[in-house]
């Protein structure tokens, strides 16, 4: 290497990018004429640019761009409608606001006064009939039930009756809630048999080669089976977090993950405390979505493993291309906590 190679090599990039001013550009050109090593360096840089340009993303069809544009326009129009509704309220004159406010205050005063007047009348009636029904204005429903069920004029008996009625009321409510929950459970469809439905010959979906009707791949017995002793999203709550519970098709799995987007991680503190690396196997659909995730190597922390699964299902990845078309692809990824920059590799 020649003595001035070092300084010239720093300039080769800007030279290739046509960003060098004249004196330096001339200096680089003179050096290149006499230095084969720097020429090879420049050729490598040129090759890198050519490769990168050849691998540029294919253009997006106009129809797709129209779809994107129309989606944005619809959203903006909805926002604009909301915005136009707000100034209408703001533009109300102070006088009108004062008038409306005043009218409201008058109405409230009238209602309160009327209520008090009626209350006084009933109190007077109550005094006349002494222990007649409707004496207490603040009776609860339980008291009312007690009074109709147990006619016990004495103080202690009445208290007992109220307590018993209260217990009944509580029991009734609990039973009602329970039966409601049961109904809800009955209404809930049976969880789809993810294992059996997804346990198809992986080649089958490829045989379709349509990018549609692809079942998420999964081994026969355990959708998330890994090395024994490693806890994965097999348990119900974690499977739920992973967005796979009850999912029989990739579309359903995706819809679960969309719901999960709005969900905050339930055990954030535990997750933040744990560190390590989880190795996952992702199945990337042709549309870049992740249809299935499996833990290949646990971090040792179930919370971190679950969080990795949770995040992976929400992620997107580049699928492989076969005959110029994206195909379903398996990818092995590492999920690390704490987050490390990708330049540390």
């Amino acid at each position: 290497m020649k003595p001035d190679c070092e300084s010239v090599r720093d300039l080769l990039g800007p030279y290739l990018d046509a960003e060098l001013a004249e004196p330096k550009r001339r200096q680089v050109e003179l050096h290149l004429k006499t230095c084969p090593e720097c020429r090879r360096e420049l050729t490598e840089l040129e090759t890198l640019y050519v490769l990168a340009r050849r691998a540029a993303r294919p253009g997006v069809p106009d129809e797709h761009l129209d779809h994107l544009r129309m989606t944005v326009t619809r959203k903006l129009r909805r926002e604009a409608k909301i915005e136009t509704a707000r100034p209408r309220l703001q533009s109300m004159s102070l006088f009108r606001l004062a008038t409306v406010g005043g009218a409201l205050v008058v109405m409230i005063v009238v209602v309160i006064a009327g209520y008090r007047l009626l209350g006084d009348r009933s109190m007077r009636l109550g005094t006349l009939s002494e222990t007649g029904p409707g004496v207490s204005k603040t009776r609860s429903a339980a008291e009312a039930v007690a009074e109709t069920t147990f006619t016990t004029p004495t103080g202690s008996g009445r208290a007992e009756a109220i307590a018993e009625a209260g217990r009944r009321e509580t029991r009734g409510k609990t039973a009602g809630a329970g039966s409601h929950a049961m109904r809800a459970m009955e209404d809930t469809p049976e969880p789809a048999e993810f294992e059996t439905k997804t346990d198809k010959d992986p080649g089958r979906a490829d045989a379709d080669n349509t990018g549609e009707n692809i079942r998420p791949p999964a081994p026969a017995s355990k959708p998330f089976a890994v090395t024994p002793g490693i806890r994965t999203a097999q348990s119900e709550p974690e499977a739920k977090l992973a967005g796979v519970e009850g999912s029989s098709t990739p579309d359903e799995a995706r819809s679960h993950s969309i719901e999960l987007d709005d969900m905050s991680w339930p055990d954030q503190k535990v997750f933040q405390r744990d560190t390590g690396t989880v190795e996952l196997l992702l199945w990337v659909e042709p549309d870049s979505s992740i249809s299935s995730v499996r833990v290949l190597r646990s971090s040792g922390s179930p919370a971190l493993d679950s969080f990795a699964l949770f995040q992976a299902l929400r992620a997107k990845a580049v699928p492989e291309f076969k005959d110029g078309r994206p195909v379903r692809t398996a990818r092995r990824v590492e999920f690390r906590q704490p987050a490390a920059q990708s330049d540390d590799q």
């Binding site: 720093d10 990039g13 800007p14 990018d17 050729t43 490598e44 840089l45 090759t47 890198l48 640019y49 490769l51 990168a52 340009r53 691998a55 540029a56 993303r57 997006v60 761009l65 994107l68 544009r69 944005v72 326009t73 959203k75 903006l76 926002e79 604009a80 915005e83 136009t84 992986p202 080649g203 791949p217 081994p219 549309d287 870049s288 979505s289 290949l296 995040q311 992976a312 992620a315 997107k316 580049v318 492989e320 291309f321 076969k322 110029g324 195909v327 692809t329 398996a330 990818r331 092995r332 990824v333 590492e334 999920f335 690390r336 906590q337 987050a339 490390a340 990708s342 330049d343 590799q345």
Partner: protein, 197 residues
């Protein structure tokens, strides 16, 4: 005359009409904004696609770019190129997206781990077409830090000058140069099998 300091997009002829549309859009005319979108959505989608190498993410960023642009249109300085401003929003959104993604790192699949029969992945090297190359380039770019990746993509794919990149990313030209140098060195290392012997 309104001149942008980074006005090299070659779209000057459309500029007066852009201004009219921008002013109408500032007044809440979504149709005018729709026309602006029609003009630039392809370019913004290309920038997002180049930076993110992922179509769904690029679509999301493209839509979000225009939504944010519309919301902050009142603050747009009319002395500057609308496209330059849009692109800056898009690049920033791409950065955010890349940072979110940085938790995941691709590692090579094992030759056989008992599941290999279910893994139908062809070796990109055996397929000399562009898709294999794209895969390798995407993987190599994925290994770059977001800031280096951004300058490289904007330079090579978008053919932006150092000034334009600095403007778009809000960094000095010297930083653009140093990041580009690091990005090139790392990519040459990662793609050395493609380099001439």
């Amino acid at each position: 005359m309104l001149v942008s300091p980074v006005d090299t997009t070659g779209e000057n002829e459309a500029r007066p009409a852009d201004l009219d549309l921008i002013r109408q859009a500032k007044a809440g005319d979504t149709m005018a904004f729709d026309e602006l979108m029609r003009r630039y959505i392809g370019s913004i989608r290309r920038v997002a696609g180049s930076m993110l190498r992922n179509d769904p993410d690029a679509d999301d960023v493209t839509q979000e770019t225009f939504i944010r642009a519309f919301r902050s249109l009142r603050g747009f300085d009319e002395r500057f190129q609308f496209y330059t401003w849009l692109r800056r929003i898009a690049v920033n959104l791409c950065f955010t997206c890349l940072k979110k993604r940085s938790r995941f790192r691709l590692v090579p699949l094992p030759v056989s781990d008992g599941e290999s029969e279910a893994v139908d992945i062809e070796d990109p090297k055996s397929d000399a077409d562009t898709s294999g190359l794209r895969h390798d380039i995407d993987t190599a770019l994925g290994r770059l830090p977001a800031d280096q990746r951004a300058v490289f993509v904007l330079r090579v794919d978008e053919e932006m000058s150092y000034n334009e990149i600095g403007e778009a990313l809000g960094i000095p030209v010297g930083t653009v140069m140093s990041r580009l140098n690091r990005a090139r060195a790392r990519l040459r290392e990662l793609l050395k099998e493609y380099m001439p012997r």
